[in-house]
């Protein structure tokens, strides 16, 4: 077979347009034909507003200006996620996109803090984190360049309107010669010999042929599942939530630079502040609550009047047995679903795209490219799964059937070991390839009251007075910096002031 030349992306949700934008940018000048098919009738899932810091690199690789993206998508800055009622009812903590304290020469900062706390008492670890403190105080400022300084060792992401983001990327892609076809795929034709997808038939009779297909058709998995029957690894046993209601409401109160995730009796509820409205949703497990009660739970706790009718969504957590099968690569909800507790879906889309670009067939599709892609994406999904599960099991809650279910759950060994090592001595078993690094694990474990019994013995080498002074100084500097930082709303308004966005929010390429 010749060089793969024709790429067909099925689906025009966040996944589809992110893929189209990235491929049209990365493969510029290579003579690829990129076509994207989307159906107005089917529409998109219409949720997914909170992101991780990696999205900034995605946008800048496309050459998109941050101010322009933020203005076009009504975005706010996001410093982390506030988790309420997870460890116990009444608790709250923020999982920040940043480190605690400052880099130390011999051991991690939190180890120093553990000793100080044990011996002399110390404020919360959060008080040494610029991003947690800024979030709590509703402040925002860009990180400085020198990551050894307070106010520099953190990242940030956005909370945005994902349909506007998709729209922006659509216009970017079309400017980069991506052909968009509106229509519904009604049939998939396979090559009888190879089993590869040969072409797609649209409702209007048109036939679309391609060499490789990216399935971004959402939960349906029109190509990866309906046509190729790749199979799904069901993770409901670990992450049993399977439904959600989502609704938009009017903004109320201060514009906060973080997402909130509040644990409920049979799931949890999100609150995502955008410039012009708030996104809300209740993710729940239908075994433990009726749809009616779940909806009531959501609607009765909205901070402002609802702007839309609540939308009901169904899902099953897990992932495809293969993300790439034959000539179909699944990206987005068609690849798998992990509940949005840590805003990982868009990140996993980004990972899928990055790996696809790196492993894109030069010449014909090679079994080795497929294998490598699947290995990498499997690892990504597995590691996110463990981190999500941590939220449900590092808890003292047993006030409902769902929390009792988690009490009795047998955990993946990788997770058990991680929790044991932490509780024994504040040690986080690290990995290099995966999205959540040790500070994230520390934040959730500590935030949900998993207190280490001991600490790194190297810390004992530091004279106590020196240790106390060091911690005090970092604490003071952190608070001084926060004091100087502007309020998030004011900073944002100033930042996007005067940025011109055309009505159709056309993005330059």
């Amino acid at each position: 077979m010749d060089q793969v030349k024709r790429i067909c992306i099925l689906g025009g949700g966040t996944a589809g347009w992110m893929t189209a934008a990235a491929l049209s940018n990365k493969f510029k000048g290579l003579g690829f034909e990129i076509t994207l098919i989307e159906s107005n009738e089917i529409g998109t899932v219409g949720v997914g507003e909170a992101t991780l810091p990696h999205i900034r690199f995605f946008n800048s690789a496309l050459g998109l200006d941050e101010k322009f993206v933020m203005k076009s998508t009504n975005a706010t800055f996001k410093l982390g996620i506030e988790f309420c009622d997870w460890g116990k009812i009444g608790d709250s903590y923020i999982h920040p996109f940043g480190d605690y304290g400052l880099p130390m020469p011999d051991t991690e900062f939190h180890q120093l803090w553990l000793r100080e706390k044990a011996e002399r008492g110390a404020p919360r670890l959060d008080e040494y984190s610029y991003s947690v403190m800024a979030a709590e105080k509703g402040k925002f400022h860009f990180p400085g360049d020198d990551t050894t300084q307070i106010g520099s060792n953190f990242g940030y992401a956005y909370q945005f309107d994902s349909s506007l983001y998709a729209k922006l990327l659509r216009s970017y892609s079309e400017n980069n010669h991506v052909r968009r076809i509106e229509g519904k795929v009604v049939e998939t034709h396979l090559n009888a010999e190879s089993g590869y997808v040969k072409s797609l038939s649209l409702e209007n009779g048109a036939q679309i042929e391609a060499d490789i297909f990216v399935d971004c058709s959402g939960f349906r998995g029109v190509l990866i599942e309906q046509a190729l029957e790749t199979g799904y690894e069901d993770w409901s046993r670990w992450l049993p939530c399977n439904r959600a209601y989502a609704v938009q409401s009017e903004s109320r109160g201060e514009l906060l630079p973080y997402t909130r995730a509040t644990a409920r009796k049979a799931g949890w509820q999100w609150r995502i502040p955008l410039q012009h409205r708030t996104g809300n949703g209740h993710v729940y497990c239908s075994d433990f609550i009726s749809d009616e009660d779940a909806l009531h739970q959501l609607m009765s706790t909205l901070e402002g009047p609802a702007l839309t009718d609540p939308k009901k969504l169904f899902f099953k957590t897990g992932r495809r047995n293969a993300f790439w099968s034959k000539n179909v690569v699944a990206i987005g909800l068609s690849a798998g679903f992990l509940e949005p507790l840590e805003s990982t879906s868009i990140h996993l889309i980004q990972e899928g795209i990055t790996n696809l670009v790196e492993l894109f067939p030069s010449g014909e599709i090679d079994e080795y490219d497929i294998r490598e892609y699947n290995d990498r994406m499997e690892l990504n999904f597995d590691r996110v799964r463990d981190f999500l599960l941590l939220h449900y099991v590092a808890t003292q809650r047993d006030d409902s059937e769902m929390w009792r279910y988690f009490r009795n759950l047998e955990l993946p060994e990788s997770l058990t070991e991680k929790m044991e090592a932490w509780q024994k001595r504040g040690y986080v078993i690290p990995y290099e390839h995966g999205v959540f690094l040790p500070p994230s694990w520390i934040s959730v474990m500590l935030g949900q009251n998993l207190e280490p019994k001991s600490f790194d013995q190297r810390v004992n080498k530091i004279p106590q007075e020196e240790l106390s002074n060091l911690l005090r100084s970092i604490h003071t500097q952190t608070h001084q910096k926060i004091h100087q930082a502007p309020a998030h709303a004011a900073f944002l308004a100033e930042y996007v002031k005067g940025v011109h966005v055309a009505q159709d929010n056309a993005a330059g390429s």
């Binding site: 510029k28 894109f360 030069s362 070991e417 024994k424 001595r425 290099e432 390839h433 013995q457 004992n460």
Partner: protein, 493 residues
């Protein structure tokens, strides 16, 4: 520095058994990073075991940190030991007559327009070695410290050291005078353990030594681990022979490894002499020495392999006690360094150490797997000599990780990496290309690259021009040493 009382109920005693590098390194590193609440008893037999030679005379760039952790700063190495600088290892005739490359040390490659640097060079039919300043300088016998200024091509080099293990061990010993260390010269008689936990060990002098944690640094004897029924997964039976030859002038800043029908030998340039290490099949008569070397000084048989678990009960194996490699790469030193670091970080403070052991063993397993892969990859070749040594090497199993790495490289020049490998992406890329492996295809984006040939040309001419102006290794080291000695004298005055 005054040391205050740590948050611990009682003292914790660490007993180290072993008289070569691992033992002294553990003693120095632990006494430097732990408070006096952790007491250290170091029992060292008078005779250094022959297996010390298996540390292999060379470190990679992480050697700098390793030596610092055991109390040796670079000025100590240069003025007090016969250590020299190293830009890597020159492989000669490996495995066929004509093939050679420098397995050099470099910082992470900077991509060209988002693409892996090595793949761009390959795309243009270039030789990766021409773009690596550490390789070119090593071949030219030149050395200078890499500067911080990223505009200087030499900033794209990293360096390690060539050293003699006995010399280094003696120097660490002389510098390690911490108050929380008790030194005992003695020989092990027996190990008293119940349920896999050591209560005490007895020495031939009749003395018994109790402790909370025991460190087996006895080398291939595994004197403490054996009585605990530690499982050693053996791979190959080999013979090592060593020799030295005095040289008036220090050689190039690299170790030279040469393959021949019997196996391979390495020559490491040290201040004052060259040190030779030869590896052949076990029990084989040692072949004739290369020119300049008069006689073999020592010969011993050893088994490569690794302990399945390097921490059992309250006993931890370090260095050659934990895993034995042919010292072809810096793996023996890198693994010693990494396990010592892990042990320091995981140092228990009570007899409950299951969690620590589990994590240490996980790291040990990862490191030995990854280092073994790197080692094994040196023997993946079609044209190796048909002799016992080389047959044995190619009969060694290929683990799934290595298979994936090779498959992906062969397929599209991709360097697959696992979490925290001891050998990084650049080490692997240099090895693959050095061994003559070439990917069948490349990244599609290579076709649309703009101006990359010009970038490469500029780079290689800047490298040649700078290398021609760099001083020879012996001259640089001599000047550096003079400078340090003058500084020390000025300071003493």
């Amino acid at each position: 520095m005054t040391v205050s009382g740590p948050a611990q109920d009682k003292d914790f005693t660490i007993v180290i058994y072993g008289g070569c590098l691992a033992g002294y390194a553990a003693r120095a590193a632990l006494s430097r990073s732990l408070s006096p609440q952790h007491m250290i008893i170091h029992i060292a037999p008078n005779e250094t075991p022959a297996c010390a030679a298996l540390y292999g005379n060379s470190t990679g760039p992480s050697g700098y940190e390793f030596f610092r952790a055991v109390g040796l700063e670079e000025p100590d190495l240069v003025t007090r030991t016969n250590t020299s600088f190293s830009f890597g290892t020159l492989f000669q005739n490996w495995p066929s007559r004509s093939r050679q490359w420098v397995q050099c040390f470099v910082p992470p490659f900077t991509g060209v327009q988002d693409l892996a640097f090595d793949s761009v060079v390959n795309f243009h039919g270039g030789n990766l070695q021409s773009y690596l300043i550490s390789a070119q300088a090593a071949l030219a016998g030149k050395f200078a410290h890499p500067p911080g200024d990223p505009k200087n091509p030499l900033s794209r080099a990293e360096y390690g050291y060539n050293f003699a293990v006995d010399d280094i061990t003696t120097t660490i010993r002389s510098k390690s005078t911490a108050s929380n260390v008790e030194h005992i010269s003695g020989q092990l008689q027996g190990v008293a353990a119940t349920n896999g936990v050591i209560n005490h060990i007895t020495l031939t002098s009749g003395r018994s030594v109790a402790g909370d944690l025991f460190i087996d640094a006895s080398g291939t004897e595994r004197a403490l681990m054996e009585p605990l029924q530690a499982e050693f997964i053996a791979q190959r039976s080999l013979r090592a022979s060593t020799a030295r030859s005095d040289t008036p002038q220090l050689g190039a800043p690299c170790k030279v490894v040469t393959a021949d029908d019997f196996g391979w030998y390495s020559v490491s340039p040290l201040q004052g002499y060259n040190s030779l290490l030869r590896v052949t099949g076990a029990g084989e008569a040692s072949p004739a020495l290369p020119p300049g070397f008069a006689k073999y000084e020592s010969q011993f048989d050893f088994q490569t392999g690794t302990l399945k678990k390097a921490w059992i009960g309250n006993c931890v194996a370090l260095g050659n006690s934990a895993s034995v490699f042919e010292p072809l790469t810096p793996a023996p030193m890198t693994l010693l360094q990494r396990s010592l670091k892990a042990l320091t970080e995981l140092m228990p403070s009570s007899s409950n150490m299951e969690v620590e052991a589990k994590e240490f063993n996980r790291l040990h397993d990862e490191d030995t797997q990854n280092a073994s892969s790197f080692h094994r990859a040196h023997f993946l070749c079609e044209n190796a000599p048909e002799t016992a040594y080389w047959q044995g090497a190619s009969d060694t199993p290929i683990c799934p990780r290595l298979r994936r790495k090779i498959t992906q490289f062969d397929s599209r020049g991709l360097v697959v990496q696992y979490d925290y490998e001891p050998f990084n992406t650049e080490d692997w890329a240099i090895l693959h290309y050095g061994m003559g492996r070439r990917p069948r295809r490349g990244d599609v984006r290579l076709q649309a690259m703009d101006g990359s040939e010009r970038i490469l040309d500029t780079m290689s001419s800047a490298i040649s021009s700078l290398v021609s102006r760099m001083p020879p290794h012996h001259q640089y080291l001599m000047k550096f040493k003079e400078y340090l000695e003058k500084k020390q004298n000025d300071y003493a005055r």
